[in-house]
Amino acid sequence: MIRFEGVTKRYADGVTAVDDLSLEVPQGGITVFVGPSGCGKTTSLRMINRMVEPTEGRILINDQDVAARKPAQLRRSIGYVIQHAGLFPHRTVLKNVMTVPRLIGWDQARARSAAMEAIEKVGLTADQAERYPAQLSGGQQQRVGVARALASDPEVVLMDEPFSAVDPLVRMDLQAEVRRLQRELGITVVLVTHDIDEAIGLGDHVAVLRQGGRLAQLATPGELLREPADDFVASFVGKDRGYRKLGFTGADLDPAPEQTVRLGEDVPTGRGWVLAVGEGGEPLGWVDRHTSGGPVGEDELHRMGSLAEVGDSARVFLDAALSAPSRRGVVVQDGRVIGTVSAQQVVDSLERT
């Protein structure tokens, strides 16, 4: 657990970057510091590993004051992922990831195997481990940055705008990856971003900071959307928070049974759309009975729209319903179709809660 106690950072020119910040970052999970530029989020992050020294107050990790530890040693015990990855261009991916294990005194063989393990964890290959950073794409470089932060099994990993320099698709991949790794390893991640969507999508807890380095609200994403503490948080969270809140609302729904047809079988008579499934009951696409007759061929399938998995949020169910050509959202469990839901059903379930 990381605790900020009355932490203030004032620079020599009189600018106050962080003002009397007190908060607790819970053990495990992802805590996101988010806010507009100049809110002191990065400064706050960097005070955790003493890249920046506070003017007042103290920061404790597991009840130990970080100021009592030597900066270099403290930093070796905390993973750090920087914007633009900040890889060492003159070292191969493997050597980059071996950096901290070597610094804390592990021998070559142990550091190497720990690094290879971390490289695999972030989805890179042994072949890529031998390359130089410049030979990788931006997204792959950032993966190396994450692997480098994880190689020595730190309990705490700090991430400073780790995904802001990659394109949106890659960013989504990386976010999912960080989420998965955090769950898998049980580490505590503190992540800084200016992007409220990233904060809400990724954080278990979100600390919203306002200009001048003051804490506006620390809450779970759901709470933040439901009950913003004040106007600043409400406006920062954005105007469509009612809709986005759906992402944190469970859907209490009974999917209706759906008539399905396997590829090659004759289309059942009737009207409207019918759902085609594969051998294992996995959904393949919708068939339009107006244009189809006889056995169902692959070229007759219409794109399916998104799928909802049992237990997903109301947002996922609603999106499944709205994106299907039949307006019936396909619900799957373990990859098999168990039924469909309509948008009306989702909305009705929201009315009930």
């Binding site: 403290l74 920087i82 003159h90 901290v100 410049a134 030979q135």
Partner: protein, 213 residues
């Protein structure tokens, strides 16, 4: 014999020339590294340090060769005078280069190194310095060629090296030794330049790894 000069004499003079121009190159580099580091580490120090060392280059070499024995208490014909003078010229060229090289390290890389837990000295040696190699060796090549050229002036104070062929040729009114001296100087400069370029390549394998993705 070539141009009226014995081959053995040419060989001897080339070695002397290499010693008087090459050793100061190494010494100058060793001194410029900490000076350039200081200039990047303490911003306020950079302008006076770089201007100050740069000014050394404007001192005429002949004046320096004559003045140094007075300052160092050495004999006029002592090689040390030439070695010290050439070292000063090397420092004049390399301090800025080293500062530029260390300054060329990307901020994100430097910060990442600090955040990983590198101390400042260690980071400078294993991160900043390797990354500064291309810039530093570029400056070193200029300094090498410059040294080969300037050191020949030392013939005027009687320190033997290829420059001696110029004074001899002039005194005997004979173009032969002069042409041999010029040829040998150019060859020596080219060899040093190519040597440093090759060294730079060996030290920077990551620059040639190609951008294959």
């Amino acid at each position: 014999m070539i141009g009226g000069v014995a081959w053995s004499t040419v060989g001897e003079l080339v070695l002397r020339h290499l010693y008087l121009a090459g050793l100061p190159l190494l010494l100058g580099l060793l001194i410029s590294l900490p000076l350039g580091w200081l200039a990047t580490r303490y911003r306020w120090l950079a302008p006076p340090m770089i201007a100050g060392t740069g000014l050394l280059y404007t001192i005429p070499s002949l004046a320096l060769f004559i003045l140094l024995p007075l300052l160092l208490g050495t004999r006029v014909l002592d090689d040390a005078n030439v070695l010290v003078a050439m070292t000063l010229y090397t420092i004049a060229l390399l301090t800025r280069t080293v500062a530029d090289g260390l300054g060329s390290v990307p901020g994100a890389t430097r910060q990442a190194a600090t955040a990983m837990g590198y101390g400042e000295l260690r980071r400078t040696l294993v991160v900043d310095l390797p990354l500064a190699v291309p810039v530093i060796t570029a400056g070193l090549r200029v300094a090498a060629v410059s040294n080969v050229s300037i050191v020949s002036v030392a013939a005027l104070i009687g320190v033997s090296q290829l420059g001696q062929l110029f004074t001899e040729g002039f005194n005997r009114n004979d173009m032969g030794p002069i042409l041999v001296g010029i040829g040998a100087c150019v060859a020596l400069a080219l060899v040093l330049d190519a040597g440093i370029a090759a060294l730079s390549r060996v030290l920077t394998p990551w620059l040639r790894a190609g951008a294959a993705r």
